[in-house]
């Protein structure tokens, strides 16, 4: 009897909880008017800002009139964004808009599993401004099987690895930028060797080549199926040759590892490079010679200001448009959004309306910044309460110039974008579901050998054959075959 009572109590609790869970679907009312605006819940990346609600309120006045919408912006800090969004997405939380990219809240994986709303029709109907504003390669590159699932931000379209040089040290040692070979792949890196040797001799406590165990830097003449993850699967950029291969068996690619090893043995790379996760202390202290980074026009200015020392750079390779580079910063609409049409209207404004775009990035005029020319602003003290990461918030080319920016900044961006070469597999997105187990095992093997190879701590003569052998055991052949199969199909469909 009492046991039955207990069971009943349990049942009541469970059912009650279930009802509460199922609830929450309100009946639809007329929404999307200035009087009854639709609330757009927007998750975006970055450190939450103190004045966010203030700016949001100011912007909402405008948006209510314009498109009958209001924003509810939720910022999630950089390092947490990926994990948090994974939970938000899978739990089916009600949100409308979110930041997505190749490197956080991953676009391909989420779009393929159906987390995002398909945008082709919406874009045609409400997003004409976006189509005009964006380099078409952004949209083509981001489409998955012909369907777009997120709007890329208009910014630098290609990726280009450059070697950054500590300018003061370079001049002190009698070198100039012209001593190094740009655009020569591994030979560019090799051309730094005399400079590194000089540092080693004259500044023994310095780190000539300040790198650490990261796997996503090498470019070469190829594009990678799994983006910048360092995982195997590559295709040449523009030969009409769609053969998928394992880059770790490629001679040119292997050349980098031999160079790293050479640099490591000569003491150009820190002995613990594979173990450290960041080198901020070394960089800030100025006791380093060179490292590498991704480029955009006038990046040297940004780096110099950020590190408080003069930085110059030279490129290792031409700028290349890859799916990784077009997926650098995007915005997706949730599959569960009740009014994707209104959200798309907002995205259109964000990419075309300078008032909306600049308010979201720089805040309120008179509080956070003041205008000093039509297209140029200065920051006010209030800026400290509202510092947003501009590249994550849509079309950069309509944003104001800030102190330190040259007048021709956005023209130079356009020129640079035009000069970038497209990878021949731009727009191909790999669906990993048929080989999930293999991919997991391969990822694990890469993480085991990668950091050692990418810092020269491991001897490539020993580690590379070992790596490739382990990769094979982990199912590399099946992974590559699946990549090849999907790529061939994609090529065939595109030709039709």
């Amino acid at each position: 009897m009492r046991a039955a009572g207990l069971a009943r109590m349990l049942a009541v609790l469970l059912v009650g909880a279930g009802l509460l869970l199922a609830g929450g679907c309100q009946p639809a009312v007329e929404e999307g008017t200035p009087d009854n605006p639709y609330r757009i819940v927007w998750y975006t990346i970055g450190t939450p800002q103190k004045d966010l609600k203030l700016v949001e309120a100011r912007l909402n006045e405008y948006l209510r009139e314009k498109i009958g919408a209001e924003l509810d912006i939720r910022m999630i800090d950089w390092a947490n964004y990926r994990e948090k969004m994974n939970v938000v997405l899978i739990s089916g939380e009600n949100y409308d808009l979110c930041f997505t990219a190749s490197w956080s809240n991953p676009y391909e994986q989420n779009a393929m599993r159906g987390a995002f709303y398909p945008l082709n029709d919406l874009l045609d109907r409400y997003g004409q401004g976006i189509k005009e504003a964006l380099d078409p390669r952004f949209i083509e590159g981001a489409k998955i099987n012909g369907q777009l699932y997120a709007i890329p931000a208009n910014k630098e379209i290609g990726q280009q690895v450059v070697y950054r040089i500590n300018y003061d040290l370079m001049t002190k040692l009698g070198f100039s930028l012209s001593d190094f070979r740009p655009l020569a792949g591994p030979d560019s890196l090799r051309s730094l060797a005399p400079y590194f040797q000089k540092i080693r001799e004259q500044y023994p406590g310095y780190t000539p080549y300040a790198i650490f165990g990261n796997m996503n830097y090498l470019m070469g003449d190829m594009d990678f199926i799994l983006a910048n993850s360092g995982l195997p699967g590559a295709v040449r950029i523009e030969q009409g040759n769609y053969k998928v291969f394992n880059q770790y068996e490629d001679r040119e690619f292997q050349e980098y590892f031999r160079l790293y090893r050479e640099f490591y043995e000569k003491g150009y790379i820190a002995p613990d490079a594979a173990q450290i996760r960041d080198d901020q202390s070394i960089i800030v202290s100025g006791r380093w010679g060179a490292d590498y980074a991704g480029y955009q026009p006038y990046a040297d200015n940004i780096w110099s200001a950020a590190m408080n020392m003069k930085i110059v750079s030279f490129p290792e390779f031409r700028p290349i448009v890859t799916k990784n580079s077009v997926m650098g910063s995007m915005m997706a609409i949730s599959i569960n959004s009740r009014r994707p049409d209104i959200v798309m209207k907002f995205l259109n404004l964000l990419n075309t309306d300078p008032y909306v775009r600049n308010t979201i990035q720089y805040g309120i005029e008179g509080i956070h910044y003041q205008k000093i020319a039509a297209n140029r602003i200065e920051f006010l003290p209030g800026h400290a309460n509202y510092e947003m990461p501009g590249f994550s918030l849509g079309n950069l080319f309509i944003t104001y110039l800030v102190p330190g920016d040259p007048d021709d900044k956005w023209e130079r961006f356009r020129e640079w974008n035009d000069s970038a070469v497209s990878s021949q597999i731009l727009g191909f997105h790999f669906d990993h579901t048929p080989v999930t187990a293999e991919l997991a095992a391969v990822t694990s093997v890469m993480n085991q050998y990668g950091p050692g190879l990418f810092t020269g701590q491991s001897d490539p003569g020993v580690a590379l054959p070992k790596l490739n052998q382990e990769l094979k055991k982990a199912g590399l052949d099946r992974l590559l075959a699946e990549q090849q199969r999907q790529l061939d199909e994609w090529v065939k469909n595109r030709r039709q």
């Binding site: 899978i90 613990d272 594979a274 450290i276 569960n336 694990s444 950091p451 055991k473």
Partner: protein, 312 residues
Amino acid sequence: MSVRATGGWRLRKNTAFLLMVLPGFIWLVLLKYLPMGGIVLAFKNFHFARGGFWQSLWESSWCGLQNFEFLFASQNAWIITRNTILYNLVFIVTGTILALAIAVALSELLNRRLAKLYQTCLFFPYFLSWVVVGYLLLGFLSFDKGAVNGMLGQFGWQPVQWYDQPGVWPYILSFINLWKNAGYNAVIYLAAIMGIDRQYYEAAEIDGAGKWQQTIYVTLPHLYKLIIVMVLLAVGRIFSADFGLFYQVPLNSGALYPTTDVIDTYVFRSLMYTGDIGMTTAAGLYQSVVGFILIMLVNKVIKKYDRESAMF
């Protein structure tokens, strides 16, 4: 009449107990048992659907044991399983012994103020995150700047690349685990020792027992049940490892994997790219099921010898 009175009393008493467990019960149902429905994910190929989580779960296709495959696909499956179990066994044995030793020592110390000071100090490592421990250890073991190699150099020995020496890491990790957790676990035993009636010691002393004998014949028997509970709980986690200890402290050095890779780090590394929720859940379920079976077995063995001490 008296029977009915007793019955009513018993009912009232059970009601009182039911009221006592009610807050915890509600908590358990809401925050633990309701979410357990998510275990189904381990057998599903998760795909989003309009309408939220349950809808997605419902519409996702079943995939049998496919999500578990990656756990056994690697040729390292045996190594990570072996490492996980061996480390846990070593941790259980050494951890229990050291925590008991500290607790007994603290309780016997004549100067209470010193005892408090020691106790506070022993807790310090508990507050350091594994990330920080990893950095500090690198401070000691760094090839060119580390204190250990500096010392070796003074003796004229060659510096060692410690993050390339899998052989020494079982000792390092076991030591670090002790160092980090002993203070915490000692407090649990210390509190139990505080609860022992002093009369037992007096009686033992009158019988001529020395301090060592008192510890063996009075203190330990009183802690016996607590030790069993602690060990049993640890046994339930024997297939799981402290992720931070095995990932952050060896700084994820590939060369060390033969002796530092455990199930949790392997799962984390493998799913870094795909982030597959089904496989994550499958790995957790696998660890849970093995832990559950082990805990039941051990409990049964204990029950056979000593009914009173078994956990359930």
